[in-house]
Amino acid sequence: MTAMTATAVKATPDAAQPPFRRWSVLPGFGPALGFTLAYLSLIVLIPLAALFLKAAQMDWASIWGVLANPRVFAAFRLTFLASAIAAAINCIFGLVIAWLLVRYRFWGRRIVDALVDLPFALPTAVAGVSLSALMAKNGWVGSFFAPLGIDIAYAPPGIVVALIFVGLPFVVRTVQPVLQDFEPELEEAAATLGADRWVTFIRITLPALAPAMLTGFALAFARAIGEYGSVIFIAGNRPGLTEIVPLLIVIKLEEFDYRGAAVIAVASLLISFALLIMINILQRRLGRHHDRG
């Protein structure tokens, strides 16, 4: 009788006070969650905490001293600006490619679809060396721009090119499923009401895709801010001109200025998190009528 009661109590936890976890017959929750948390802490959380602690050891004056440096400021401006431009270009062409893959049928569509993921699979160093060879004055693409006096490689446009490459799949992959599921009847309804394709796209289709595009933009932007491998080969890395934030961190580390590196790293992380939160809020406002429909 007592044994029965004990089981019953275990099977129906007190409803008034929610338990840490819902009861389940499956074993292994403790070890699995324990291992997950330990692994995550050792690899990610504790080392990241070390970074923030390192930066926190400094007083405000010395933190300001590191960040107010014109070279550091220039690197931040370049990194965020180039990342935003690259993500914006990816936003437009990502939509075009997603449209192409979802709406049209053509020979080789599967190959095109697979190629979109190449930037995820190709090591960034390889992308860096090949893009700089491609965009250099004597490269296949660079040689078209050189006579016009436009340098791509070893100049800011080169950085944008590399960041476009690494961010390319994000918008395509976020917009594609939304476009796939987009009710064709909505566009047909617009057509029966007299709208042409362009008006339908601007007023009906684009607003529905906008939240996904913004998600893709945010992902591409976040990736671009941290990008190192593909950029340093093509950037030229001239202090104050074509030096990006991750490179600046590496330079500080090579000079054994770990504190300076930590300050720059924390600042960069905080700014990008803040921007991502802002994008998230904007996205919610854009999607508010869609979510509930």
């Binding site: 009401l193 007023r203 429909g293």
Partner: protein, 348 residues
């Protein structure tokens, strides 16, 4: 304005959705396309709207061939099954959409647009909801917004695809009456698709009954029920007992009894459809022509459904319960039956 569909064929791959379909809808008429799923009714509606291209044949609205005209130039009001309201626009903007997208020269002024939209929202009784978004409306309200939006372009014809399909039974009934009233008021030639025969019988001036890509019969509701043109219509519309018989010299014989038919020159097997209320029931008295046994009696309000075993066949009969009490019949009793009317078709 009239709608004329002439010899329209449409196939999707190997599947023949419409097979040489012709149909005329009179000016101001409310026509139902009724049929089971896969009968081609939605395809026909979409072809009239220009949302699908027929493989051959033509569609004329008010005598004008529209085959070559783009959807957006046709001025056809279309209400989609799931309403397809623009989620990012308020109710007002949804209704105003068709006016706002007109070319600049034909576009009404903002004040005129507001007046017209308000008028339409009044017509569909949604004035207080103008500022709401579709996600904030009930199914019935969305349906009415979709209707107002389609009416805003002053369509030549109004087409509705399963207009009540996504609503629950009570709202459906309410909305049906309201649509009937609205149609009387605005009197625009309308076609709606439905698989619900009750809906078609209640709403439509005439019904086109479709099956397997063909139109089986076009008739008023009572005509279609009383004089079904084909076996399919007899079986699809309401319930009918199906009896096999043999026709000779214009007489159909059902084993024990016979009925006159219109087939003067046909001899062979045939199928007869008999409505449950077209079978008479009496106490067996020894001189009956046809005799059956009562299997079960189910009371349905003022009438009762009596299931009979008649030889190998089963028959369903509807009788007044009062009459049943008068006769004093109970389950297991033998009884005499008479068939007052049957629709006989050749073949089996």
């Amino acid at each position: 304005m009239t709608i004329e569909v002439r010899n329209v064929c449409k196939s999707f791959g190997a599947y023949q959705a419409l097979d040489n379909v012709s149909l005329t809808v009179a000016d101001g008429e409310l026509m139902a396309l009724l049929g089971p799923s896969g009968s081609g009714k939605t395809t026909l509606l979409r072809i009239i709207a220009g949302l699908d291209q027929p493989d051959s044949g033509e569609v004329l609205i008010h005598g004008q061939d529209l085959s070559k005209q783009a959807v957006r130039d046709r001025r056809v009001g279309f209400v989609f099954q799931h309403y397809s309201l623009f989620k990012n626009m308020s109710v007002f903007e949804n209704v105003a959409f068709g006016l706002r997208v007109r070319p600049r020269q034909q576009r009404p002024s903002d004040a005129e647009i507001k007046r017209r939209v308000d008028e339409l929202l009044g017509l569909v009784q949604l004035d207080p909801f103008a500022a709401r978004y579709p996600a904030q409306l009930s199914g019935g309200q969305r349906q009415r917004v979709a209707l107002a939006r389609a009416l805003a372009i002053e369509p030549k014809v109004l087409l509705l695809d399963e207009p009540f399909g996504a609503l629950d039974a009570r709202v459906r009934k309410e909305l049906r009456r309201w649509v009937r009233k609205l149609h009387k008021e605005i009197n625009v030639t309308s076609v709606f698709v439905t698989h619900d025969q009750e809906e078609a019988l209640e709403l439509a001036d005439r019904i086109a009954i479709m099956n397997l890509g063909e139109i089986e019969q076009v008739a008023t509701p009572s005509e279609a029920y009383d004089r079904p043109a084909t076996q399919f219509v007899s079986e699809f519309l309401g319930f009918a007992n199906r009896l096999t018989c043999h026709v000779e010299n214009g007489i159909a014989r059902f084993g024990d009894f016979s009925l006159p038919t219109e087939f003067d020159n046909y001899a062979g097997d045939a199928v007869a459809y008999v409505r449950p209320h077209e079978i008479g029931l009496n106490r067996a008295n020894g001189h009956d022509i046809a005799r059956a046994t009562i299997d079960s009696i189910v009371a349905l309000g003022p009438t009762a459904r009596v299931d009979l075993a008649y030889g190998e066949q089963r028959l369903e009969v509807l009788v007044d319960r009062e009459r049943l009490t008068e006769l004093g019949l109970v389950v297991g009793d033998p009884c005499a039956i008479t068939i007052t009317r049957a629709h006989v078709f050749r073949g089996t």
